[in-house]
Each structure stands twice: as structure tokens, then as C-alpha cells.
Symmetry: C2
Subunit: 141 residues, 2 copies
């Protein structure tokens, strides 16, 4: 429970409504962005997916290079990015290096995006309407 403390900003002279949650501070935003940056590449997403698709929960680089269609150095680079973001761990066993997902971190990221995260995500709106509201929460796409 994030305890939505209501900060009294606002003069409401113009537009806008009062805040009902503390917005993300810069440090936390930067940290989060680092993780999302790691996810912001098709190759890396496919890498995660490939690793997760293996029955043992892990995969070595040799399994990943070919299905990705990228060069071995590039794959290695992407894996490094994922590792540094904490999304995967690596372990050398003999010749091969095995990568596996870090489910807790992925789950935590999902949670930030989801309902108990940084913003209200479902239809859990306080139903304000003494406000500048004009249009219902319609789907626009």
C-alpha cells in the first residue's frame, strides 16, 4: 500500500487538479529508466524470451546467437547490458556461459507498471468531477 498522501500544491487558478500521489523523484526515475532501457531493444527482449523459453531456465550464448540473427559480439554485448541491469545472471561452467532470468526483478518492474505501481492503472479513479473534466476515460487508439 503506497499510502497516497495528498500534497496540497496548487492554486487551481488555471487548469489542473491537486496531486493525490507523490510523483516519482529523480533518483528513482533514473534507476527505473535504467532497467527499462535494457528492455528497450528488440534483440534484448528476444534474448530474455529465448532464455525463458528454455526448459532448464537457462541458455548459453551458443543457443542465442543463431536464432537472433546477430553477430556473436553483439549478442554478448546485449547480454552484458541485461546483466548490468540485473535482469539476468551469468555463470560460467567449463567452456560455456549460461544465462538465466532474474524473475524477481522482472516481476518488480511489472509491479511498477501495474496496479500497485507508480500510477493508478485500473479504473480505480476517485471519480472527480468538480474539475476540468469533459470527456470520459475513453480508449483512444
Amino acid at each position: 500500500m503506497p499510502s497516497p498522501l495528498a500534497l496540497p500544491l496548487l492554486d487551481a487558478d488555471s487548469c489542473s487538479s491537486p496531486l493525490v500521489r507523490t510523483p516519482l523523484d529523480e533518483g528513482r526515475a533514473t534507476a527505473l529508466a535504467l532497467r527499462f532501457k535494457a528492455l528497450a531493444d528488440p534483440g534484448r527482449l528476444r534474448l530474455l524470451s529465448l532464455i525463458g523459453a528454455h526448459e532448464s531456465g537457462e541458455a548459453c550464448v551458443c543457443d542465442l546467437t543463431e536464432p537472433l540473427g546477430l553477430s556473436q559480439p553483439t549478442v554478448s554485448h546485449h547480454l552484458k547490458v541485461l546483466r548490468e541491469a540485473g535482469l539476468v545472471t551469468s555463470e560460467r561452467r567449463g567452456t560455456w556461459v549460461h544465462y538465466r532470468l532474474v524473475p524477481e526483478v522482472l516481476a518488480q518492474l511489472a509491479a511498477e507498471l501495474g496496479n500497485d505501481g507508480l500510477w493508478p492503472v485500473a479504473s480505480e479513479r476517485p471519480a472527480v468531477d468538480g474539475e476540468t473534466r469533459t470527456r470520459p476515460t475513453g480508449t483512444t487508439d
Copy 2:
């Protein structure tokens, strides 16, 4: 429902284990990466957070520029990125333009990262061990 069809690849001559899920194809990965790219910036995360923090569920640019500490053109640019990624919608009402989150898209992204997403995320492992496994699923950091 992703119906985890088991594709029989593999000769298991070397390392690796069989696939138990279909890995993300390139098109889908690219589409997903586009959305994560939009999230991969501290300013944009704070923007989303700020919008979500408002009681009415929306905010105009004038509310966002100052707490972000970025110039107005930059904020406008970020909002455009978020809008094009489908994460927010904008609506002009008189002088001001109001932005609001698109909860469904955020929730969908969370779902991809989470349990019913692209990779197994909880401790729902099939418990393989006729494999190259050597070490338990320890945290490596």
C-alpha cells in the same frame, strides 16, 4: 492465452535444454521495444508519474514543465513520444492541452513482464535436473 507449445529443437550435443515456449518473434519484439523505449527515460517516467499523481487523472503541460526542471520544448517532445507510444492521450480544451494515462496499455505492458507474459517469472519452473545444471538457482550479484 499463450498456450506454451513445446517445440522440439535441439540435439543436446553440447549445452542447453529444449525450448518449452515459443520465443518472441522479431515483429512483436520490435513493437514491444517501442513501448519500452518510451519508458526508458527518467523524464518520461516522471511525466507519467506526475500525470497519474493528479487527482483528476490528467494534467496540462503547464503543470509538468516546472516540476520536471526541463524546458518546455523538451517536455513537449517527451509527451509526444509518450503519446506516439500509446501511453498517454492528449486533448486540447481551450488554451490548455490535457494529458492522461492510458491504463490499459500500461497494464498490458506489465502483463508482458509478469507471470502470464513472455517468460516464466515466478517459481513456476518445471524442475528439470537431468540437465547441465550444477548450481541451485542462487542469487548472483
